[in-house]
Symmetry: C2
Subunit: 270 residues, 2 copies
Amino acid sequence: MSVSSEHSDVASRTLKIGMVGFGPFGQFLGKTMIRQGHLLRVTSRTDYSELCAHMGISFFRDIGAFFEAENDVVLICTSILSLTEVVRSMPLDRLKRPTLFADVLSVKEHPRNVLLRVLPEESDVLCTHPMFGPQSGKDGWKGLTFMYDRVRIRDEGICSSFLHIFQSEGCRMLEMSCEEHDKVAARSQFITHTIGRILSEMEIQSTAINTKGFETLIQLKESTVRDSFDLFSGLFVHNRFAQKELQNLELALNKVKQKLVEKMGEEEQD
Amino acid sequence: MSVSSEHSDVASRTLKIGMVGFGPFGQFLGKTMIRQGHLLRVTSRTDYSELCAHMGISFFRDIGAFFEAENDVVLICTSILSLTEVVRSMPLDRLKRPTLFADVLSVKEHPRNVLLRVLPEESDVLCTHPMFGPQSGKDGWKGLTFMYDRVRIRDEGICSSFLHIFQSEGCRMLEMSCEEHDKVAARSQFITHTIGRILSEMEIQSTAINTKGFETLIQLKESTVRDSFDLFSGLFVHNRFAQKELQNLELALNKVKQKLVEKMGEEEQD
């Protein structure tokens, strides 16, 4: 694992970036890429032609034409759950030259495995996870963590130009393996989403006597349910470490409960 | 339930306040009371004579002498778990006149019931819960909620002078029944502490890829374990609504788990 926030010496160039999927997260990233002068193209199963026209981006209804458009980078911004289907449906034989495939999904072993299985050997693969989104990154990306794993990189120029997008915004650049990412994210991001979903299931609401701690839980609940259930379940289904952490959460709840029940027994004896 | 943050018109007077129990929370309240010019006396099973001497407070080793000292208010700042024992050991026959008994415990039906059972009928009873503490109230009490229930008040002058301590600091004054308090606090403060304890049991720690949401959970864990396990278990043992809310938390976790497992099944079929 290595961290860097200094600007790379490598000369960065303007990239033709083809985004596959253009939901809120893709749009959020796209805005900064456009501002930096990169050329964006978008394809998606949803029709984003109007939004793209408004943003000055070419929208490709025809995924074949998208793959023929000589993108430097194909950036996968689909949901975790739809990744396999989307990648399977890519007409990869239409690629005119070796291309860097990157992804920004919140799990990392799954897209790495899918991409290595499906892509032509000459395609480079960069797996990344920006640890921020439209909420936490709304005032800029400075100091926010950008995790990446150079899974299979031969064209250093394209790869570093792509990383430079995040580096130049001031991100804390963190190189970490996909496996290590998933292990750590299961104990942090997944558990955070799980607690937010539990609080939502309990229908907790602001009261007349909120403590500061309870107010942070209300905020957590609200920010969790702003994300889709598909994202949350993707964090579970496609991170092999998540099931164990869910068990750990259950075990911890049982231990806390047991301690309370024991204390209640002691108090009743007094 | 009624809220007020305006200053009362009732002329407030300097009070002789006898505090029973002088842990971190009692000390925290005591500092502001002294600054306002009230006269403090303290008794406690722990010897706080040095600390009290340092703060200019009379410390009574002899609880009999403490009760003879003609306090306007006896303010109970013990832990929830020790309340019954402390109240039982009070030599109430040494009281020289009707006295207001107030408490600041984080559960409310329990001290109300204990005080009504044990105190002489001529004693007034005011049950309160400042919804803040040494952490959240360290920069002043302005805008922070002070909950109270006028359980049995005949001497309006003493009662409003005592409430004025909090009112004049800018607290949001909230009149609410002890029952309503406990119902709401079981779903808010108790659940917050429970989640903090669960995270502590899981030994969650800051990672290289913290999301903002996860950072709030780390802070919650840390602030929860700063409070004693006795406080946490008191919130459970002496709030009759807490057991149900702990069940609700378990049910919610099971529902979330079930939804994840179902999704996993669907994905595996694809």
